[in-house]
């Protein structure tokens, strides 16, 4: 007869293998769904294995909690695709909450006999978990527009934030030296909860892709720390996979904005606004009607559509699909150029366009599309601004100088659908709009695309 503990360990080892395969299969859309099944199988196995554990004396609350969690999880899994960024932020908050609560319970069970190393990782676990919990709730609130999206900054903000984190670390050190100081523990957790809120206060909408990735990384690391505390290899593996994923995405996002982590966290983009606003001058802007835009598009051979957050806000992705269809039917080659930080989280635009049934092989990332743009007849920009700003290439005084952009200005004709001439999130004027090959299409993204589609299908014959 195999001892039960070995059986449980065996389910964990198989779960680890399935988790790694799950992420490996996610590398391409063709095998990605298999990856989800592998993850589900691993998860089920690990949970069943854990339920066999002999130390469990009471199943009632476990059962209630599992059912309740599933009841909450189902609607969270079925949100609209446009709400995916806030759902993701919320799930980081839940993950961090779980880790923080388990760490807290462990502390009170074990104190005062906590070895220094265990107390150190336990502190790391609950500090990271605590700040990720409140930080992610704040991020979700901003994305859902319950909270103001504008970054809020005040004098000495960085000093206050770093000071708070410093105090939490000092308290952690004191607890490591003497874990019987139980009265310090709630203060440490409380400070990390407040720090999480303060950390997100100066973050604006355009920084969300980086911040969500960073919170993802923190959630993973705190789970890995929990694995050290509980001496669970399964948790260490799952936590470090999640941490690595969040870390890679954060690096990608900050590279795509030409900013460092510290700059994203400590230097709100909003601060540059006043500096940029002074340089407004009257320049010629050409605009076009839907009829003209339709005529230009139907005369093209190659069209590149550049979507941005504005497309998501206007819910225009299905209209964009109709435009894609009617252009493709005329034999025009239509592709999409997607900047890494377009939208509010990594891969946001791809999901919205896939939802609208646009084939994924037409969705190209920045490096791929930039090679094609000089041979493109029309670049149509829908709700994107800063990621197309040529000042990032040419103007060393621009706040976004050095940020990799989509070189839409190299296309023969550029058309920009925009509500008005008001600058984008960063408050930076876009010289693209004054170029000779640029046409502004003023209006709501959804309505304007709809008018173009109507023109193309209606008066296309003559």
């Amino acid at each position: 007869m195999i001892p039960q503990s070995h059986l449980i360990e065996a389910t964990y080892i198989i779960a680890v293998v399935l988790f790694i395969l799950s992420l490996k299969w996610l590398s391409s859309p063709a095998t990605a769904r298999r990856g989800v099944w592998a993850g589900e199988a691993g998860m089920l196995l690990a949970i069943v294995g854990t339920l066999l554990y002999q130390g469990i004396v009471d199943y009632k609350w476990i059962a209630i909690a599992l059912v309740l969690g599933a009841i909450i999880g189902v609607p969270l899994g079925n949100v609209q695709m446009t709400a995916v960024p806030q759902r993701t932020a919320l799930s980081h908050a839940f993950g961090a909450l779980c880790v923080t609560l388990v760490g807290t319970a462990e502390f009170y069970l074990r104190t005062p006999n906590v070895p220094p190393f265990v107390m150190s990782v336990l502190s790391l676990e609950v500090i990271l978990g605590g700040l990720t919990f409140t930080g992610s709730l704040m991020a979700a609130g901003k994305l859902q527009e319950i909270l103001p999206q504008r970054p809020i900054t005040y004098k000495g903000q960085n000093f206050v934030n770093l000071g708070m984190l410093g105090v939490a670390v000092v308290l952690a050190v004191m607890l490591v030296r003497d874990p019987s100081n139980t009265h310090l523990y709630p203060i440490m957790v409380g400070i990390s909860l407040i720090f999480g809120i303060m950390m997100i206060v100066p973050i604006g909408g355009a920084d969300m892709p980086t911040v969500i990735s960073l919170l993802n990384s923190y959630a993973g690391l705190s789970a890995a720390a929990m694995g050290f505390v509980l001496n669970s290899k399964l948790l260490i593996v799952a936590g470090s996979l999640d941490g690595a994923s969040g870390f890679i995405l954060s690096v990608n996002m900050s590279k795509a904005m030409n900013r460092s982590f510290t700059n994203v966290l400590f230097g709100a983009f909003g601060q540059v606004q006043t500096a940029a606003a002074g340089a407004v001058e009257q320049r010629n802007v050409r605009s076009a009607t839907p009829e003209e835009a339709a005529a230009i598009l139907s005369a093209a051979n190659k069209v590149v559509i550049v979507p941005g957050y504005g497309m998501a806000v206007a819910q225009a992705q299905h209209k964009v699909r109709e435009l894609y269809d009617s252009l493709t039917k005329r034999g025009i080659d239509v592709r999409f150029g997607i900047h890494p930080v377009a939208g509010r989280m990594p891969g946001h635009m791809n999901v919205l366009l896939a939802e609208a049934d646009i084939p994924y092989d037409k969705l190209l990332d920045m490096d791929e599309i930039n090679g094609e743009l000089p041979q493109t007849d029309v670049a149509l920009i829908i709700g994107a601004n800063d990621v197309t700003n040529p000042a990032a290439r040419t103007d060393a005084s621009s706040p976004i100088y050095g940020m990799p952009i989509l070189d839409v200005d190299k296309a023969r004709t550029v058309m920009v659908i925009k509500r008005s001439m008001s600058p984008g999130f960063a408050g930076i004027d876009n010289p693209l709009y004054y170029l000779d090959n640029n046409l502004m299409l003023f209006g709501d993204a959804k309505q304007f695309v709809n008018s173009i589609v109507r023109e193309l299908s209606g008066g296309g014959g003559h």
Partner: protein, 99 residues
């Protein structure tokens, strides 16, 4: 004994982080949103720690915190897998004809 566990755990952590980097680097930017929701669901394996905490019932505090932690983690598992699969189902190639 404690130091042995610690060193083993560190090895596991380092190796898993390397595997994570290598595997995730290969994920196409196309799928970065599903990647995040999938890793989030996998991360909710923390539920096993919460189950033991609530099941062992060593103190009322442990039971209460463990139970809440199970709810939070389970909602991530269920919600995370559902939404990842929904997203991945939408990604279709133009080369495979739709029914």
């Amino acid at each position: 004994m404690v130091t042995n566990d610690l060193i083993n755990s560190l090895y596991v952590f380092i190796l898993a982080a390397f595997i994570g980097f290598e595997v995730i680097r290969k994920v196409s930017p196309l799928l970065h949103t599903p990647l995040m929701s999938l890793t989030n669901a996998l991360d909710a394996i923390a539920v096993v720690g919460a189950i033991i905490l609530a099941g062992e019932r060593k103190s009322t505090l442990a039971l209460v915190l463990g139970t809440i932690a199970i709810v939070a983690a389970t909602s991530n598992i269920v919600g995370g897998f559902i939404i990842t699969d929904r997203m991945l189902k939408m990604f279709k190639s133009s080369r495979t004809p739709k029914s």
